[in-house]
């Protein structure tokens, strides 16, 4: 690990620190500069060329022992790619190994054979005659299906005992439902096809992997009974939270005894419900929705195969909707996994589904947006993520302490930058556990920082807070921290899920580490996630921008009434509405999709800006219906659940022009839009 300063002379931006009047410390900072790093300065992305005519909607990736990359696709093909790392500047070569399976969403190489899951079965492929093409498609184990498109199957991975592990997705019929046996479950299957149900309560378990200890972690997507994305360690007999699959818990071999009716639908935090419902497992690490992903996918353990900087032993987690990779540090406290999730690398070309290590320690990301849309606009592809050997200034780990947290950095910090409370911010919050799709952030409270202590080597900073809340997610922001070399953090926030508060010695608060209340609480941050205590919720009172009743003086009703819904491909079903200036308008927006949407009328030419602002609402986004407080937003609906409808009334602007309407739900605004043409 080296830090090449010369590289940054090209890329780095030098910005003057915020001028803070009053305090002596601020006077000291005044003449310093902060140096900004960017992800691409450390982690370049390279796209694999794909021959024309191949649909590279990746469902599975695995490295073969001969250094070729095997790729499974939605079209049911398995491609073998030689020289995928493009060594010596030579392009990769593609060979079709197998064809015609029904949507492969997992691929592995186990004991000399290629295994994969398609919709209805776990399959083993063999090339018996050695001609380079599979000629044996052996069904290892198959399961019934109802014929629902949402009945996906994933895996296999190999557990530490040598069993194959697969998961089966719930169907979608306006809500998640287990339409056929073992959907919503994790199953273990031996090489000779003996199946044992392992755990229940899954919704959309697209990604799972083992950590260094051989424990299984799976990634879940926000949805019904799932307030936000997460990764969770899975033990035999666990119930992970979505009750739909519990209709099979009475079948022989089920290690789960809970029934659907055992699960209360109260909207209390899942951690609290789990205290009353033995067997209900809560996430190891929550991924706050829209901030760190909207659809977590493949998990990659940073083992000895990888070369990604100083994060060995951590997990990388991909995201389909936001085309990015997050990083997770895990620790066990009182035998329970918990830890922190950090941003790692964004800007991939399409939705990430699968991650594997390349032979050179780089990482392949297999991608598809599969008709749901993604921040990266390509429909599919494979990209290679490298580490160039330079070490970014990052929070390497966060560990819980009895009285707060200890942050470990990749480089020594500038002690002066961490002395006052404004260097950090800690907020605790959680989500509702209920049948409704997703959840707003609830019970959010800022914690008061009482002491900050820097280790002798300046690599660790201990933060003491007034209190911690067990079971809650703790947002930890570090906007003020600078490295000894005056770099700001590449990513200055993380989310720690505190399942257990460790016991042990608390830090003695001394004059040296005690912090005074901050004089100037706001530094520049590359995200704004300040939770608000305002009680505006999803059902907030109508405002001028969100008028849900026809004004009394509209004697003849609206001049124009529009009823919009969605159509496949992240689109409104009407993309041009024409009204006269000053017309009385009603818009009815019906969310007939299987994800959340709103409709926001914006000033001409500002829909992207409004979409970006909505993205930056962070934790408050859902509570605010992803409506940023800006004059660029003219009118809007609420954020609508699947099958919800909202009516809004407004008077069209007096000034003619093209007023764009847009869905500001993160990841949607670049494509899901239309024009309200005022004539």
């Amino acid at each position: 690990m080296k830090l090449s300063l010369s590289r940054f002379s090209i890329h780095a931006l030098f910005v003057t620190a915020v001028f803070c009047s009053g305090s002596v410390e601020a006077q000291i900072k005044m003449d310093t500069t902060t140096r900004i790093q960017k992800e691409e300065d450390f982690y370049p992305i390279q796209t694999l060329p794909v021959p024309e005519g191949i649909s590279m909607e990746v469902g599975g990736l695995v490295m073969l022992p001969n250094d070729a990359l095997a790729v499974a696709t939605r079209h049911g093909e398995v491609w073998i790619i030689q020289n995928p790392t493009m060594k010596n500047g030579q392009p990769p070569r593609y060979r079709l190994f197998a064809q015609g399976m029904h949507e492969i969403l997992g691929l592995n190489y186990i004991h000399g054979d290629i295994y994969l899951t398609q919709r209805s079965e776990l399959t083993r492929l063999r090339d018996l005659d050695g001609d380079g093409e599979a000629d044996e498609y052996h069904t290892v184990y198959s399961w019934p299906l109802a014929g629902n498109y949402h009945e996906y199957a994933y895996g296999p991975i190999l557990d530490k005992e040598g069993n194959m592990v697969v998961t089966l997705n719930l169907g979608w019929i306006g809500y998640g439902e287990s339409l056929s046996r073992w959907h919503g479950w994790m199953l273990k299957i031996t090489a000779d096809g003996k199946m044992t149900p392992y755990a229940a309560g899954f919704r959309s378990p697209a990604g799972f992997a083992l950590n260094d200890k051989g424990d299984i972690f799976y990634a879940e997507n926000q949805g019904d009974w799932v307030g936000s994305g997460s990764i969770t360690q899975v033990n035999k007999g666990d119930f992970l939270g979505n009750p739909a699959g519990l209709i099979w818990s009475g079948l022989p071999g089920s290690p789960v005894t809970l029934k659907k009716e055992d699960i209360p639908d109260t909207g209390e935090p899942k951690f609290d419900v789990a205290k009353k419902v033995p067997g209900l497992k809560t996430p190891s690490v929550w991924f706050p929705h829209t901030i760190l992903g909207i659809s977590t996918s493949g998990i990659l353990n940073y083992d000895k195969l990888g070369k990604m900087g100083p994060f060995e032993g951590q997990l990388f987690v991909g995201d389909q909707g936001q085309s990015k990779i997050m990083r997770v540090y895990l620790e066990q406290v009182q035998g329970v996994y918990q830890g922190a999730v950090f941003p790692f690398r964004e800007g991939f070309a399409s939705g990430i589904l699968r991650l594997v290590w390349a032979p050179d320690g780089s990482m392949f990301a297999g991608m598809t947006n599969r008709g749901w849309g993604s921040t990266g606009k390509s429909p599919d592809g494979i990209q290679k993520l490298d580490w160039n050997g330079n070490t970014p200034f990052e929070i390497r780990t966060i560990q819980a302490r009895p009285d707060g947290f200890e942050l470990e950095f990749t480089q020594p910090v500038d002690p002066a930058s961490v002395k006052d409370a404004s260097a950090f911010g800690i907020t605790s919050f959680t989500y509702k556990y209920h049948h409704i799709y997703g959840s707003p952030v609830i019970n959010n409270n800022e914690r008061t920082i009482k002491a900050i202590d820097v280790s002798a080597d300046r690599l660790k900073v201990r933060i003491v807070t007034d209190s911690l809340i067990e079971g809650y997610i703790h947002e930890i922001k570090a906007p003020g921290v600078r490295s000894a070399e005056r770099f700001a953090l590449l990513h200055n926030f993380a989310y720690y899920t505190l399942n257990r508060i460790p016991t042990g010695a608390k830090l003695a608060i001394t004059a040296a580490n005690k912090v005074m209340p901050a004089a100037m609480p706001h530094h520049n941050m590359n995200m704004t996630a300040t939770p608000s205590t305002a009680t505006t919720g999803v059902k907030r009172a109508p405002t001028v921008k969100h008028l849900t009743r026809q004004p009394a003086d509209w004697k003849n009703g609206p001049d124009n009434s529009f009823t919009l819904a969605t159509k496949p491909g992240l689109k409104y079903d009407q993309e041009l509405l024409t009204v006269k200036a000053g017309a009385k308008v009603r818009i009815t927006f019906k969310n007939n999709d299987d994800m959340l949407h709103n409709l926001v009328v914006t000033m001409p030419g500002s829909s992207n800006e409004v979409g970006e602002m909505a993205l930056k609402l962070g934790l408050n986004g859902q509570k605010l219906n992803y409506i940023p407080a800006t004059s660029k937003v003219l009118y809007h609906t609420l954020l609508l659940q699947p099958n919800q409808t909202d009516n809004i009334y407004f008077v069209a602007p007096d000034k003619p022009g093209d007023y764009e309407y847009v869905c500001t739900y993160p990841g949607h605004y670049l494509v899901m839009k239309g024009v309200l043409r005022v004539k």
Binding site: S120, L128, D135, Y137, Y149, Q550, G557, P558, L564
Partner: protein, 612 residues
Amino acid sequence: MIAYKKSAVLLGVALFVRVALWGQTSGEVSLPLNDLSAFKEPAKAWQTVSDAMADFTKPGAMTAIKGTGAIMLTGSGTGLSSLVTTMESSDLELDMDFLLAKNTQATLLLQGRYALVLNDSWGIDSASLAWCGAIGERVSNQQAAKPADVVPPSMNVCRAPGLWQHLHVKFRAPRFDAQGGKVQPAMFEEVVLNGTTMQLQVAAASISPDALLTEEKSDGPLALLASGPVALSRITYRVIKPLVTSLINLSYTYYKGDFTDQFPDLAKFTASPKKSSATLTGISTTGDGTYAMDYVGEIEIPAADRYTFALLTNGVGRLYVDGQLVIDRVTSRWNRRFYTKDVDLTKGSHAVRLVYVKNLGNIKPGLALTIKAPNSDPVALHEKSSAPVTEFTDPVVIRPAAKPYLLRSFLDYGPVKLTHAISVGDPRHINYSYDLKQGALLQVWRGDFLDVTNMWVQRGEPQTAAPMGSLVKLSDMPALAALESPTAAWPDSIAFDDMQRDGYTLDKDRSPTFQYSFKGAIVADRIATAEDGKSLLREITVANAPANFYCQAAAASKIETVSEGLYRIGNPSYYIRIDKRYKAISRQTPKGSELLIPITAQAGTIAYYITW
């Protein structure tokens, strides 16, 4: 070309006498085939039969089965015969069953002038103008006079000689001005062979070289030229007559307001004074946004008959005729199809009311209403500018290249959505689907392989693959069963947990062998293209077969023995061939007949061919 053509012309020079068409308003007419009276001076080689059989290996061979109901041309297979109806028509919709001998070349002449090839093109894989379903002609291996006039069909779905095939043609006669000048050419609007569209909206720029009538006119007979044995049955047609009608005394009330997907109670909305209107349109000159237009008027029906109304709206629509609600179109905005309803109407004036609710805001108003008599084309009752525009998704199609393509998918099979189906497409355009859950060979088809738009575009919610060629449905029942007695019914299915599905292996030529076990039997079910792409060979090997174990080779309403070991199954039909050493058993069941092959522990392999 010349010698052959001359004979055709000579045969066709006879005067055509126009006869009164029977059943002019009732639509479909069956050509009587109890004798040959429907044809003008038929050659002696034509006879009435009840059925015909042909050996698909012997050129020109066809056997008559005595009786009536069908007609058959016998003969050496070397000469050319023409058969001409006494009936003449202009626009025509024709349905006909036909059966060819091996190598028979036949041409159907619409109006005695425009040729449609009905050659035996079974198994000819390279695209050819001689394919059954081609427009134009290339009889006797002559090149067409104007190659541009010859259009091969979309694919070759010709059935094997000796199997009944079905042809549907919608033909539009040329149009002439008052001076007799042609203003619109003749059109093959649609040619459907064995359920698969061969041709769509093809103009016949000129008459065919082998035409019996050489001058283009509004009317003409149907004629068949054949150079070998052919049988015809169930010939029905509709003479398409223009339906002359329109809406009169039309007026409407305009309502302003806030409408939903449901049909509104118009009394609750603000009405504008009633206005008369020259035409029916969904476009309002009063205002845009959302509104309703409640049209009332009359329609003058020229003759008593069963009429079909069709309504398409962007928004909600309701049609009332004589005060009765006929079509209730609650909006489903992506459902762009017409809603239709048949209504019996007497001659004379009938009250029509159409309520159109544009509940979708400023989406383009769209309203189309048509009426059709059984023997007419639909007549638009709306103004042209009011008709909604149709949108389509770009299709995704799999075309097997050098080797067979196997694709697993969901598959619609009748009303059932199968979840463990696999379809196999041979580059020679012979395809089949197989249910891995039952070991059932579901269906076979010739022509193009699969349309997978519903699987691979966007989210692919149906996840179904759609066969593109001419389907022959076989059976979704298990191929194998142990029967407790010789009369025990064949089981409908094998329970999911009673069968272990083991997958499949592929030969060098990628023919699969499906493997599974149930009831202790270990099954290998190999299906391969055989006989140069003309047949499928199914070989089932069972180890550990239980007692009284059988393979059901066919189950159909009717099973006929053509010759020893050769069976013609069902209708639409296919052949099963079983070597006599397998000792096939034919048995009657309440639903028809079954063909069973015993499988014993001693002789665990059986085989049969499927030919169609």
